[in-house]
Subunit: 196 residues, 4 copies
DNA sequence: AATGAATGAGTGTTCATTCAT
DNA sequence: TATGAATGAACACTCATTCAT
């Protein structure tokens, strides 16, 4: 019981620190996200507490990445799986990522900052994995729903398109994400559909 | 003549330092690109020489950005202007940026690292300006060559697609850029063309 | 208790650093008082410890000034308040400052060095405030004990006279401060007394 | 002839640099008066020119001190010599220094900053020499014009009183120096005069 | 007389981390 | 679980000065 209680307290602390990290990274960039800034933001008395709960900065960003990836994975995965046709799944993927970027702005912004900063460089499982997208596209090509194209190129282009939304939101917080998603869906529908 | 000669020496040194900066940033990321690393890479005896030729780190990265932007601007601008139709110009733009990314890998990689690191954050003229692309797209819409779509969304998607190439090259240095460009041209041709 | 104890350790370290700072500034001047010199003098392993206990150099000199000002203020204030007549208070003030300069040579010397170096330039409450002296003089004039003169000029002159003692002590460590004070008291008694 | 011409040009340059040094030191303090700031103020292309005309920083401040001391010495010396009585000479001295401080504000301010900063510390002939004042006071005592007091203390007090004027002027540029001098003359007349 | 290029030592400060409690 | 104290390495940058021309 006591062990469980401690674990709960520790989990809460970790979550608190992770929240602060996400907000600081999203707002000020990864390079500015020092332990000091994070501790200030989380109203901790010292940075020592972060070092205590996380093995190091690598561990902290790993936890951040894992949390965001899990969140978006569950959200988008459910939407995609609800569709049966490749075209529908592609649409669901685009709408899913854009929608998640809209409703979880700090998380998505932080994730991208971390990945692009190179802090997620080596050894770690790439979160910019587009293999799932490639699979959808290849399924569509096999079903003659999609035209012939390089699935890798198309997947990368789709991925970069949806990953651009957090940056757009940073520049214009009032951006209409639903309309943005609709435009992208139409764009990639035309880009992928088989000729008549 | 004497003035030119003196200036030439300084210009050469600046270029040497700038070369080293580009290579270090491209290879190790912006955050690792300390004066010390740059000096080592440029085989300078001390970091002091960098401070002598550049007013500060801001000045150094500004020079880096200016140089790369100028280079790609001239290259792509010439290609685009050689085309007359919006479709041709869009193709030229994509091929131009992808081609430049292929032949000037370090430069492009360094530019993106700097911009994404936030070191090019405020006040500076945004190098991620897509207004020129928007203009091409709007011209095509007026000429009924392109279908109706949001030019801003399309321009951003094109820009992010071509800007992805340096990252692809980092992951796979043997990537066939010409084929990549051809795929993108076809992709965005289908995405933009007017219905028959 | 625990809080006090922890605070006590930090307080002791701060005091140790402050002592070293005072001695270094007094002996070698403010411009020579780098963290390195202070750390050496305090027998600290690195300058990092100073940065740990003080927010910055500004904070360090602020602490120094506050400590010396407080010390002399308490000493002189008590002496002055023990006197009732303006003449007595003026005498107490002169004797007080000169005496404190004699018994706290490093402190006074350091204070003057800091103030004169301009490190205590802007925004900070001026330690060269002579308003308390002016009040004593004006009281004396109202009581007809003192002749008519510009209190500001007289106060400034008294203040500069007593503030000269640390410099005299630096030039001649064996200076008889008691005799010096007696001379100054007689000097300013004659300068201020009302005509018979 | 050519040598003379060169010498003239060099002398002019030295004077120009010295002017700039005085202004920078007076306005921003000695510690801020780096070669860089001086070169900027004198509109020189590089600090190298200063190093060329002066053997080093010591040489530069030595030239500064010499110039100001000479100026004030000539001014005050003439006024003092024009008086015959010790009382008159003391008055002339006070009025002379205060007046010179009023009409040569930057020079006096710079001189004091340099001396007080400790840059004039060792080996150099002390410009804070009060022996000439002591001589005047001793003459007055011998002539029974002045009462009995320690000439050294009185001289130091007079000297510090008049040296305070540049600081007063910095705090209040509209200070009435003539009135200030009159106050000081009366003050020290009463402080020194023999009893009736 | 004057200059651009280059230098080595030094500045205060920030960083993530470890130790002892 | 948590904390105050302490650490060594690195950071960009400034200083007065010297070299070769």
């Amino acid at each position: 019981m006591q062990v469980t209680e401690r674990s709960a307290a520790a989990t809460a602390r970790r979550a608190q620190i992770l929240d602060a990290t996400i907000e600081v990274v999203a707002a000020e960039g990864y390079s500015s996200a020092s332990f000091k800034r994070i501790a200030e933001h989380a109203r901790l008395s010292s940075t020592r507490l972060i070092s205590y709960h996380f093995a190091g900065k690598d561990d902290l960003v790993a936890a951040l990445v894992e949390r965001v990836i899990t969140g978006i994975g569950e959200h988008v995965g459910a939407l995609v799986m609800a569709e049966e046709s490749p075209k529908g799944r592609l649409r669901a993927y685009i709408e899913g990522v854009v929608g998640y970027s809209d409703t979880h702005r700090s998380e998505m912004s932080a994730l991208l900052q971390v990945v692009l900063s190179g802090a997620w460089g080596e050894g770690k499982p790439a979160p910019s994995d587009v293999s799932h997208l490639e699979r959808i596209l290849e399924d569509g090509q096999r079903a003659k729903e999609f035209r012939s194209f390089d699935p890798k190129v198309m997947a990368t282009t789709v991925q970069r398109a949806v990953e651009g939304v957090p940056f757009m939101l940073q520049a214009d917080p009032d951006l209409d994400c639903a309309a943005y998603a609709t435009e992208l869906v139409e764009l990639f529908d035309r880009a992928t559909r088989a000729d008549a």
